[in-house]
Amino acid sequence: MSASIVSRRSFLKVSTLAGGGLMLAFNGLDKVLAGTVAEDVLFAPNAYIKIASNGIVTLMATNPEIGQGVKTSLPMLVAEELDVDWQKVVIEQAPLDTVKFSRQSAGGSGSVRSSWEPFRKAGAAARKMLVDAAAQTWNVSPDECVTENGWVIHKPSGKKLEYGALASKASGMTVPTEVTLKDPKDYKLIGKRIPNVDNKKIATGKQPFGIDTKREGMLYVMVARPAAFGKKLKSFDDTAARALPGVKNVVSFDNKIAVLATSTWEAKKGRDALKIEWEDEVALESTAEHQENLKKLTQQKHEIPKRTDGDAEQALAGAKKVLESVFEAPFLPHAPLEPMNFFADVRDDKVELYGSTQVPARVRAEVAKALNIGEDKISVGVSRIGGGFGRRLQADYAIEAAKISQLAKSPVQVMWTREDDMQGGYYRPAGMYRYRAAIDQNNELSAWYLVASSVNQDNASRQDNFPAGAIPNFRVDSHRLNSAISTGPWRAPNHNFLAFSEESFLDEIATELKKDTVAFRLELLDRAKSNPAGKLTYDVDRYKAVIKLAAEMGKWGTPAGKGIFKGFASHFSFGSYAAQVAEISITGGKLKVHKIYCAIDCGRVINLSGAETQVEGGIIDGLGHALYGELLFEKGATVQKNFNTYKLIRMPDAPAIEVRFIDSNENPQGLGEPGLPPVAAAVNNAIFNATGQRIRRLPLSLATLLSDQVDRNR
């Protein structure tokens, strides 16, 4: 591999650790990510290396770990180029520190893509300084020295020195302006199966999560929040609550009432004992009217399209045949298994915040604003996080904890029940997607027109998604429906439903054209390459390669076992290409998903085990929500309150999964999200192959097949 030139001398800061070790902090390397699709790349995190004189190498995990594996995969990048023994590496979770590090967050499948270059360069730079230190000690040329597993070796003489022994001297070496990165064929860690670094602690109950935070004098808090979106606090009586054992304080703010107690249970009983009157602030919303309004919007043209190639309206008007289908997406809560909670200790001169957040910098900024306290007075510690899925991109629950601590003058851990969490907002917005496709005289797909509508979103589409580029007349409109119900990003935002609607509709078109659905996609991709319409944001060859690999894995075109039906779908998101084949059966009106085959191209795989589990988990997540996920509203309140009514996928429904990665030398891409989107469509298309009927709303309900036979050929 060619040498990478680091132009900024300042990228490494060296200091000597107490006890004589080497410490390297690196920040702000070039964020140039050759070959990356600039979709939602928000994060360019930095890292931190400490080599102690005893040879222990500590690598800082800079980004919040929400289960996406960055606490393992990012340090692997540094360790690879540092050439250190992974068994001797200690990983430490870094607190928020905008001086030492730049962006520390988790979201947009961006951590690995943005760290790939700088983290490796940091490892390589540290390695070079250790080599220089050894060369100086032996009075030889650094060119005669190599490194291996935490040792510098002088080749001609065979002399060796361990990194620990060189650490102090290395700290006096000149910071390199140029580093040579390894040839990928020499990788010892990258591409291998490296288990999650916290496995042992997790398996023994020793790994703390945000909810496990305890501090001297801390009180547990339960908060009564408006029982429905659109309601506000009218009055309350806390006499009974205050009389309960363990209840220490009751404070009210922002339409909320917080009960502080010496245990979670006492706080909950205190909250239950509050007598509260709520009143309506605005009209209370329900699902039925959302659906009606969303549907109305999809019937309207938007004056400003999100994308337009050719003239879709004209092509539709002159078509031999028009296919039209409307797809419906429900609201979804994130429901991470660790409910929202946060620790705050607000004093006059300093504020300590600690807990499960995907965005510690945002938490600090918003708490500073809410409390009118300088950011420099606020520290934010990041725990391991019991799932995020987008919910922990919000700072609401941290601000709430800080306000309570300030009002009550006490360190607090605010606990949310599952019911609080379910009503807590920031949902995946509900939406509706009306597709029209024109088939022309030559039996070709000549136009595609999507009119989307969604709650609180200006753009519910990803207008450049395939088949954009493959169809001469193409248009996407998107309408916004305002709502008092708060919405936000949910794992693979918009992709999580668009892949279902797009790939189901493509399947409908293939059926209409009497074409094999896989061959049809390949044909469209060929068109996009030979004769692109408008701009192309995906790589046709990589797209085709995953489609072909998935088809091969799932033996597409050959019949499955008796009663087993297959379905196909593919999708490109966060720089990665995914294609899936689903195998299902339907017996006695019950759907069973037997197996999902998934081919994926995410560029170079960093941690094979971690990568595979991300894709497996994405598939289970996508499938579970396709089967069950639906949050309904009745007068501003969620109908589903907990896991007895809001169903999540469980072990008996989990299919077998086979994942294969395209062998790639391309830069690594996102992987926390791309495995999720295609699965709902793959299963839905298999349901069509089994029943001859189409489902166009999630969750997939076989019951609707009988009652909801929408004629697609209007």
Partner: protein, 156 residues
């Protein structure tokens, strides 16, 4: 408020809490043992699973007053050195993603293996259906249970 003498992980402990307090909160808040997790509070997710005399129970829905002399085992006490076959298998199969559900999953799996040392896939479906993994690690959980069963079979 009342006093309870509990047997937790082989040790006798005394707590003073109100009788309706779920065992989960006694463990977490009173005893500071946070390995057992809260996920739903209504016996639906399994995050709070502990053993009551070797049986997997949901501690969020078990009032402390009903525990009596039964032996409680939590994830912290499943093995002394973290080397219960299920714990080892969990690392080898690299099961955890966020990890939050895994204490509960491991406790359910350990109880299953105690009852059925060589469980079938069907047994696993039934025994593990009460434990939600929001990250979707089910495939690896299944692999790890089979691996732990094989290991146990080899040992004894």
């Amino acid at each position: 408020m009342a006093q309870y003498n509990l047997q937790v992980n082989g040790k006798k402990v005394q707590v003073e809490v109100s009788p309706d307090t779920p065992l989960l909160w006694v463990l977490r808040d009173t005893l500071g043992m946070t390995g057992t997790k809260f996920g739903c509070g209504i016996a639906q997710c399994g995050a709070c699973t502990v053993h009551l005399n070797d049986n997997a129970v949901r501690s969020c829905s078990l009032p402390v007053s009903s525990v009596g002399n039964n032996k409680i085992t939590t994830i912290e006490g499943l093995s002394e050195k973290g080397d219960h076959p299920v714990q080892l298998a969990w690392d080898e199969a690299d099961v955890p993603q966020c990890g939050y559900c895994q204490a509960g999953q491991i406790m359910s799996a350990a109880a299953l293996l105690k009852r059925k040392p060589q469980p079938t896939d069907q047994d696993i479906d039934t025994a593990m259906a009460g434990n939600i993994c929001r990250c979707g690690t089910y495939k690896r959980i299944r692999t790890a249970i089979h691996a732990a069963a094989a290991k146990k079979g080899g040992k004894s």
